[in-house]
Subunit: 347 residues, 2 copies
DNA sequence: ATAATAACTTAAGATTTTCTTAACTGAATG
DNA sequence: CATTCAGTTAAGAAAATCTTAAGTTATTAT
């Protein structure tokens, strides 16, 4: 098998490349000390690397004077080649991280999160970055970054996305909510919640809270949903419309609770085994537009955490004062989570 | 103190350079296995280096299929930069070893060695390398290679030339010689060698054999020289002209002994603490003209070694048969050396 | 003068990186 | 159905690199 001969250097024996780099820096500064600082190593390390290279080449590259080093003719010959060689290498590396479309930010996330939280709040980000065109691509499945231009995904899950970098954004809680307008129609203190219609979307198996819910409120299993939808947006709309009671993620409901469009009539909440994550191939995180967005959303999301503190406190204390007849005098039940947001990474 | 900002890559964080090189080779062959062979390491090492680089970059460079690897778009982007970057580096390295004058070979050596041995035998080298112009620069002092175009020096000494590479060429022996034409005029068996005139050049202190010589032949110390010259060439001429007895280095005398222009009338010889060395900055040895010369002289010099075997044998055996009256019936005295050429490096 | 300082060298040991060995995959070959 | 082939992975061995702690030698400061 014959191959085309290797281009240039690949065929020959290369000198220690690290030493070449050290040489480049030392030659630039005409000082081992400063090269050492630049490279975050000791002077001695620089001295040794240069010696190594000189031994490899069989000729000295620096003339050592008392308090200075100076390039020999050989060193002067080598210097420009080393500089331009390394520059070429780094040009290639920059090219890799280069953002082919720095003015567009394409984000993939759940439709519910997009509609209920992200898009409504996006104004401040767009004000901060007027040059940037943000596209939100809603979807239930994770984008394959290979075949799309997606910069970043916001996913609700366990945080295991092989080959991708993930950053925890927010842990979330499920809680039963309904419109205050229908509370007079149903007596939730009665067994079976007084017949209030149950609205549900299809929760993932691992996060299926309905059996536990049924047990606590005395409903027969499996629970009968009067409405089953596939997306939390529609579910939210149904709850808002007073069609019944649903388990909603706090992140989607908190603004509605704060504005009293929704209420939490039962002393339960569940910590979701899933969380929100920023997900993308690692190098996407190096794009400045992604960094800006990451920065922005990290701050924005604090609002949810803060709201949760308030709501979970009043939720519990409210029911402590006048506990539900149905609740077996138990204290409010908290599944899987205790207290406010924990940052323990169980991604 | 403000410095001009570092050119290109020097300022940024560099990826593992070794891994970049491995990438270049692997990308060239589109095969880790062949890259491994090329780099004289195992496949596993290549696999790991590539993974390392991919982790550093945050993106994959190769698509792993069952029995082949293929560059990803990112890999394809990087490849040409890496190739040309390394090519630039190696251009610089080649430039360093480049011989500015490949058609001229400039050799510095002792005038005696040049005149008595090197120049007379140089014909065969010049026949082998007709394109090469050989210049012999005779001199007693070692050339400073910095300020001359000398390619190579042949020095007689201990082999300690700091900063320079040395190669042992030949160990040498001093022996007393005179012209056969004057042996009838002096009875060397008489005390004081029958008054034969002593010819000498100035030997270095460390190699001063005269006190020992005086003791052995019963001459008063310090020895009285009827002629003292500064160069062995002149000394040889004087001996040839029958002006007396001298201690000559075998390398200079052996042809004259073989042609019976000179004889060795006394059963002594001394191993010199000095030897002949090839001396030059290491990279000079990489020049092909120097390599050729080195090859040639190494072969040529075998002639001297071979001659020494013969001469030292006959010298000793001859005197064993009819030992000198004056020699106190001692066996022939050998200082510092025993027998033929030893290759023990005492440089 | 004498001391302090600055830049570099060197040796020895510690640390980190890189390599090898050996067991394992998964698809093509025969 | 077993082999082979190209690559992966983990663990330990080997090698390269770095730090620490002395020196060196000339310059600057006291």
């Amino acid at each position: 098998m014959s191959y085309p001969s290797l281009p240039g250097i690949l065929s020959g024996r290369m000198p220690p490349l690290k030493a070449l780099r050290v040489f480049a820096v030392a030659a630039h500064y005409q000082s081992f000390k400063q090269a050492a600082e630049h490279l975050f190593v000791t002077q001695a390390a620089v001295s040794q690397q240069i010696r190594l290279l000189e031994e490899h080449l069989g000729q000295t590259l620096f003339i050592r004077l008392n308090r200075e080093v100076r390039l020999t003719p050989a060193g002067q010959t080598l210097y420009p080649f080393v500089i331009s060689g390394f520059e070429e290498l780094s040009r290639g590396l920059e090219r890799l991280n280069e953002d082919s479309n720095p003015d567009a930010l394409i984000i993939n996330c759940l439709p519910s999160f997009a509609g209920r939280w992200l898009v409504p709040g996006l104004g401040s980000f767009q004000q901060q970055n007027p040059a940037l065109t943000v596209s939100i691509i809603p979807g239930h499945a994770l984008e394959t970054f290979e075949h799309s231009d997606t910069d970043l995904a916001i996913r609700f899950g366990r945080g295991h996305y092989p080959g991708l970098k993930t950053e925890l954004l927010l842990e979330d809680y499920y809680l039963p909510v309904c419109s205050p307008s229908i509370l007079d129609r149903y007596d939730l203190s009665k067994p079976g919640l007084g017949g209030i219609p149950i609205l549900s979307d299809d929760l993932p198996d691992d996060d299926n809270l309905w059996p536990d819910f049924a047990r606590r409120v005395g409903l027969p299993e499996p629970i009968h949903s009067s409405l089953l939808v596939h997306d939390a947006t529609m579910l939210t709309d149904a709850v808002l419309a007073g069609q019944g009671l649903a388990l909603l993620r706090f992140s989607l409901a908190y603004r509605l609770i704060e504005s009293e469009q929704l209420v939490c009539p039962l002393p339960f909440y569940w910590h979701s085994v899933f969380s929100y994550f920023l997900v993308a191939p690692e190098h996407h995180f190096r794009r400045s537009k992604v960094q800006k967005f990451r920065q922005w959303i990290a701050e924005e999301i604090l609002e949810i955490s803060a709201s949760w503190k308030k709501v979970s406190d009043t939720l519990l204390s409210g029911f402590e004062a006048n506990s539900l007849p149905d609740s077996d005098s138990e204290p409010p039940v908290i599944q899987q989570a205790c207290g406010p947001y924990s940052t323990s990474g169980k991604c």
